[in-house]
């Protein structure tokens, strides 16, 4: 974990409301697939807190990029960054996606901008002997493009696409093809890697349980610090002694990646 002032190398719009920010760091970092950073334009006063962004890609020890959707004041401020502008960044944060020996067949499921935290995972799976299928869900073709569609296509992995409006791929939610795949080929041998909004993660977890499929999810929670000290980003865990110490874990340091079965899904960690 390093605290550094990065320099924006480019900040390109992939689709309306979706940008790819590439920055140069002053020091070397070793980033694992699925890890994130806390970022903010240098010397910006409002909003005060930094924003959590997954490291989308690593271009070298000192160059990384972030793929982000413009939501409110924080991401809008990032969207105004131009080449040469400075960015305060703390990284890498959180745990990484693991591809252990148990994994023979992988299903990567991403909803919307959740794609940002799985591209590097897909790269590693593509270069491994693990049979991999990538499921990307988005609101529309525009959003899919904004969420890095071309980068995923370039990996050459089998890709299943769904959009809410049917403008690209199959119309509907990404959980539909997931369920189909598990029903047709069985779930036991597979491992699901998922990232997306809370509601989707919850549904994916249900499906995984139904088919006895191993499932890892990367979660979101409002973050004060990103490195474990504010204890504001917690999710509720299944514990034998409910409401005892340990019922809540920090997404930023105990996660952001958790085994789906460990989460108490009825307790939504997000503010909105």
């Amino acid at each position: 974990m390093i605290e550094t002032v990065a320099t924006a190398e480019s900040n390109r719009e992939l689709a309306e409301g979706y940008l790819l920010l590439t920055v140069d760091l002053k020091d070397d970092v070793l980033v694992g697939a699925g890890q994130f950073a806390m970022v903010k334009p240098l010397a910006s006063f409002e909003p005060v807190l930094r924003r959590a962004l997954a490291v989308y890609r690593v271009h070298g020890p000192r160059r990384v990029s972030f793929l982000y959707q413009v939501i409110g004041s924080g991401t809008s401020a990032l969207a105004r960054l131009g080449r040469g502008d400075k960015v305060e960044a703390l990284l890498p944060l959180g745990n990484s996606w693991t591809i252990d020996d148990q994994v023979s067949r992988a299903i990567v499921v991403a909803g919307g901008i959740g794609s940002a935290s799985v591209l590097m995972l897909c790269e590693r799976l593509a270069s491994s002997r693990v049979e991999t299928r990538v499921l990307l869900g988005a609101a529309s073709e525009r959003v899919a493009v904004g969420c890095g569609l071309e980068d995923f296509r370039a990996l050459g992995l089998p890709l299943v696409l769904t959009t809410d409006d049917g403008s690209l791929g199959e119309k509907g939610l990404i959980t539909a093809p997931l369920e189909r795949e598990l029903r047709e080929r069985g779930g036991r041998a597979a491992t699901i890697y998922a990232c997306g909004p809370w509601a989707m993660m919850k549904r994916v977890a249900e499906i995984a349980e139904q088919f006895n499929t191993r499932c890892m999810v990367s979660l979101e929670a409002p973050m004060g610090c990103g490195f474990g000290v504010c204890v504001g980003c917690v999710v509720a865990m299944k514990t034998d002694k409910p409401l005892g110490y340990g019922s809540y874990k920090r997404v930023c340091t105990d996660g952001s990646i958790f085994p789906a079965e460990a989460i108490r899904w009825e307790v939504n960690a997000m503010t909105h």
Partner: protein
């Protein structure tokens, strides 16, 4: 990261007999157990830090969402999730002892007895410099602010805590009161060696779409730059009412901010929320104070304390 402050004697301050390398202290709940920052800041360059609120037994804290951002700050309702006094002594203190920095154990309980029990456990902990009695946490149904907003109950607990404690006692004031000077007098009269202020201000944020509070707890404590003017005013008021040393807290994010509190009457400052969005801020402020002294020919930073000119 190198700086002159290791040996900048000008910054040294003393509070209740405790020597601090400089007046910059990490605030409770924003500095973890200190070790989380070891990778980012040189703890030896800080005056010290206050631990997350420690209770006799570990606490799970409140359900999420626990924080929400607001203009110039944030609301939190963590609910004092902590590993407990015993675990702190066994797991954290041994590692912390290697640093030349003052460790203030922030103490919390749901009742007077809880507080005393936590203090008695911590009395065994070697390397703790002082206790900070958190009777100002707004995010619990019992203890904290429930005790701290009433001069009489605050005084009663202070007296018990002082008796139980083998170390200097800092009492942390709640800003959610009509007359903080009166509260301060009552607490000092009951034996507090130092007062720290302010804790967070009770606030609420509502999600218009769901028509629910944005925090699961309903209300939360407001912190960050937004509250600084309120904190500076309260430090000044209290400095006029009592003679024990004060630790100023509230929205400090820069050297100039810290200086405002010293001039208002604080012997030292604690930096809280700024650690989240600027993890090395404590070290930057310590270095900034050093440069300020140099630039202004100030021999001892303590000469600034309470130097506010009012006509």
């Amino acid at each position: 990261m190198a700086g002159p402050i290791d040996n900048d004697r000008r910054l040294a301050v003393e509070i209740a007999g405790i020597h601090f390398n400089n007046p910059v202290i990490g605030a409770s709940g924003t500095f973890g157990y200190g070790l989380e920052f070891a990778e980012l800041v040189d703890l030896n360059r800080l005056g010290g830090f206050a631990t997350k609120g420690l209770s006799a037994r570990p606490l799970p804290g409140n359900p999420p969402p626990r924080i929400v951002e607001t203009h110039g700050g944030m609301l939190n309702a963590i609910g004092l999730q902590n590993i407990g006094a015993r675990a702190f002594i066994e797991e954290k203190l041994p590692l912390l002892r290697s640093y030349d920095t003052r460790i203030i154990a922030n103490v919390f309980g749901y009742s007077d007895d809880d507080y005393i029990e936590a203090i008695e456990i911590l009395n065994d902990g070697e390397g703790i410099s002082a206790y900070e009695l958190n009777i100002s946490c707004p995010n619990v149904k019992e203890g904290g602010i429930v005790i701290g907003n009433s001069p009489s109950s605050a005084a009663r607990l202070t007296e018990k805590a002082k008796r139980a404690s083998t170390r200097p006692l800092v009492v942390k004031l709640s800003p959610n009161v009509t007359d903080i000077a009166e509260l301060a007098r009552a607490i000092v009269a009951s034996g507090a060696d130092c007062l720290s202020l302010i804790n967070t201000i009770v606030g609420m944020s509502i999600d218009v779409n769901t028509r629910r509070p944005r925090l699961s707890y309903g209300t939360g404590g407001l912190s960050g730059p937004a509250i600084r003017p309120i904190a500076v005013r309260m430090v000044f008021e209290v400095s006029q009412a009592v003679s024990v040393p004060l630790i100023g807290i509230g929205g400090i994010a820069s050297t100039m901010d810290a200086l405002e509190f010293l001039i208002a009457g604080a012997t030292a400052v604690q930096i809280g929320t700024a650690n989240y969005y600027d993890p090395t801020v404590t070290m930057k402020v310590a270095e900034g104070l050093s440069s300020f002294c140099k630039a202004n020919g100030i021999g001892r930073i303590s000469s600034l304390v309470g130097s506010l000119r009012t006509q």
